[in-house]
């Protein structure tokens, strides 16, 4: 058996399937709550400054299916979503919610996954560094920075970083994506948003890693490895690291959720046209279909990431039980 086959055979399929089945009602509840909350609320997307005449109002309502009874609207909507159709945007004329999500999602995903990658690498490194030097100056320095990273919100660090590195030093762009003709996500545009989004996660991950490194260093299997006379380097790389990294895996799911929420603010600070800006603008403008679409995508991603993190955890830790 190859290594890949061995890993695959260790995936608890029954558990995965049960979790997937659990995810479906969760998503349905999310859709239902959001749908009815927005429809029952006073005021609608077409309440403008001027009162529209009755005929126009009816025509608009008919176009978006809002003349139907509420339950029918809901069923139609869910059926549409199941076929991957989120309907037309109520505020952006001539664009469907699918178009807007197709525009925004890649930007958000790019920032989010890059930030996660940076946070994992830097956070793990710093955490192990501090954990191996418990209660020394190096440890205190790293943990001091980590505390600052946790305490200072992104909407403070973002503007400060812009002030220092974009406006001050002029190294990076103040915001937005690349400009014509090089439209796209360039190093110049992405560095500051990714760094801002990654900072709190670097802080949390390094604290987690420090605690878990310290705990692992005291565990019997590490003592045994030392007693065998293995060089310290081997002890750390082969025996401490693999078990110290486990708590990180179970944090990966919640971390992705936090990064996605964080990107609502990051996209606003740096003027990036991602899902987050569409969601916030949609909520403020009462663009029902857009908000629902974005919410469903976010919820699906969060449920998915939690699932992946759990499966990964089951794969890495032979002691875990699945229920």
């Amino acid at each position: 058996m190859s290594a890949l086959q061995r890993s695959l055979s260790r995936i608890p399929w029954a558990y995965v399937i049960r979790r997937l089945l659990f995810a479906i009602p969760t998503l349905l509840v999310i859709i239902a709550v959001a749908f009815f909350m927005m429809r029952l609320a006073p005021g609608g997307p077409f309440d403008g400054e001027r009162k529209l005449n009755a005929a126009t109002e009816a025509a608009i309502a008919a176009k978006f299916g809002m003349d139907q009874p509420l339950w029918k609207q809901f069923v139609d909507y869910v059926l549409g979503v199941l076929q991957g159709d989120f309907g037309p945007s109520m505020k952006t004329l001539g664009k469907s919610v699918n178009d807007l999500i197709a525009d925004g999602l890649p930007v958000s995903l790019a920032i989010g996954s890059l930030a996660m990658l940076v946070a994992l690498i830097v956070g793990t490194g710093l955490g192990i560094f501090a954990g191996l030097r418990q209660n020394t100056t190096g440890d205190y320095t790293v943990m001091g920075f980590a505390m600052a990273g946790i305490s200072i919100p992104t909407f403070v660090t973002g503007p400060l970083l812009i002030l220092a590195f974009a406006l001050g030093a002029g190294w990076f762009a103040v915001g937005g994506l690349g400009e014509y003709p090089n439209i796209g996500m360039t190093f110049n545009n992405m560095t500051l948003p990714v760094l801002t989004l990654a900072l709190p996660q670097i802080a949390i991950i390094s604290r987690l890693m420090r605690a878990s490194t310290i705990e692992t260093m005291r565990s019997p299997h590490v003592r045994t490895a030392r007693a065998k006379g293995l060089p310290e380097r081997t002890v750390i790389m082969r025996h401490v690291l693999p078990s110290a990294i486990l708590p990180l895996v179970s944090y990966a799911g919640p971390a992705m959720a936090r990064v996605m929420t964080g990107s609502l603010v990051i996209e606003r600070i740096f003027g990036l046209p991602g899902m987050g800006s569409y969601f916030v603008d949609g909520a403020i403008n009462r663009d029902y279909t857009l908000v629902m679409g974005a919410l469903i995508i976010y919820a699906t991603l969060i449920v998915l990431f939690n699932l992946i993190a759990d499966i990964l955890y089951a794969l890495l830790d032979p002691k875990v039980k699945y229920d």
Partner: protein, 300 residues
């Protein structure tokens, strides 16, 4: 050695004083007060709470007083020590008010989450069985929801409203609290003193109130201290997105958001609320960490 235990399972204080022993709490207190970062944070936070509570009354300017001197840089002239905003309102007054609202949101929302979470967790853990299963599955489902998105929906649907912000944030944060309390309750439930209380005919609610809750205080206190900064941050996050408290009220998040828009020309609009926010959150986190290390010293 035989310890005399009273009905609550604690050592008799008189007996203990005579024996000259140190309780868990004495040890914890000593460790907490030896933690320099935590002690300094408590002093700083105390000053901030005093400023937030009384500052707006004591300061020479009113937070909503509009004047013709708009967007002044910090000056001793007329005591505008932090300058004025785009409507000529004094920024010291506005920062003090912002601090007050942010701290108030943090405390009230945490209190909401404390009450719901402790009640829910203690009942689930104490009753156990199918009730426990059902109650905790409910928590699991809610855990999977992207809550901040729902809060944003709520605020846009029902309008911006400070009470709603309190309630919404509090209602989100109780989940972890209920898990912690349930876990502790399960651990304590099997102890002999609970059995003794039950044998003595004490009712279920009374056992929870008198015997279980006092024993979950430690972990709950730590979690409460660490929840306040999370809540303050969540409120500011909403304020930053333009969904926070209404004018003329303000919070640190609103002030930071306004300041960030003009940071290039008028950085002082951003600096003061940003520093206040960072210092408040740092203090709360240091105190929370200190408490945790004091009560559960294994990581030190």
């Amino acid at each position: 050695m035989v310890d005399t235990l009273d009905m609550t399972g604690r050592k008799d204080p008189v007996e203990q004083a005579l024996a000259g022993g140190r309780s868990l709490w004495d040890d914890a207190k000593r460790r907490l007060f030896n933690n320099k970062a935590a002690v300094i944070s408590m002093w700083v936070l105390g000053v901030m709470i005093f400023l937030a509570a009384f500052g707006p009354f004591l300061w020479v300017h009113d937070y909503s007083q509009i004047s013709a001197q708009t967007e002044l840089a910090p000056t001793f002239d007329n005591w505008h020590l932090l300058g004025t905003d785009e409507q000529g309102r004094d920024l010291v007054a506005r920062n003090l008010l912002g601090l007050r609202i942010s701290l108030a949101v943090g405390m009230v929302a945490t209190l909401v989450s404390l009450v719901i979470g402790v009640t829910w967790g203690a009942i689930a853990g104490y009753v156990g069985g199918r009730t426990d299963n059902l109650m905790m599955r409910f928590v699991d489902v809610l855990y999977a929801m992207p809550f901040i998105f729902f809060v944003i929906l709520l605020l846009t649907v029902f309008g911006r409203n400070i009470i709603l912000i309190f309630a919404a944030i509090g209602a989100v944060e109780w989940l972890t609290m209920s898990r912690i309390v349930r876990g502790q309750t399960l651990a304590i439930k099997g102890k002999e003193f609970i059995e003794a209380a039950r044998a003595a005919g004490v009712s279920g609610p009374a056992i929870i109130r008198r015997h279980i809750l006092p024993n979950v205080v430690g972990p709950v206190a730590v979690y409460v201290t660490l929840t306040i900064p999370v809540v303050i941050m969540a409120e500011s996050f909403l304020s930053f997105l333009g969904l926070g408290v209404n004018e003329p009220l303000t919070s640190l998040g609103v002030l930071i958001s306004n300041g960030a828009k003009e940071m290039q020309d008028k950085p002082w609009l951003l600096m003061a609320p940003a520093i206040l926010m960072a210092v408040t959150l740092l203090c709360l986190n240091f105190i929370g960490d200190g408490l945790r290390d004091a009560l559960d010293p294994k990581e030190r």
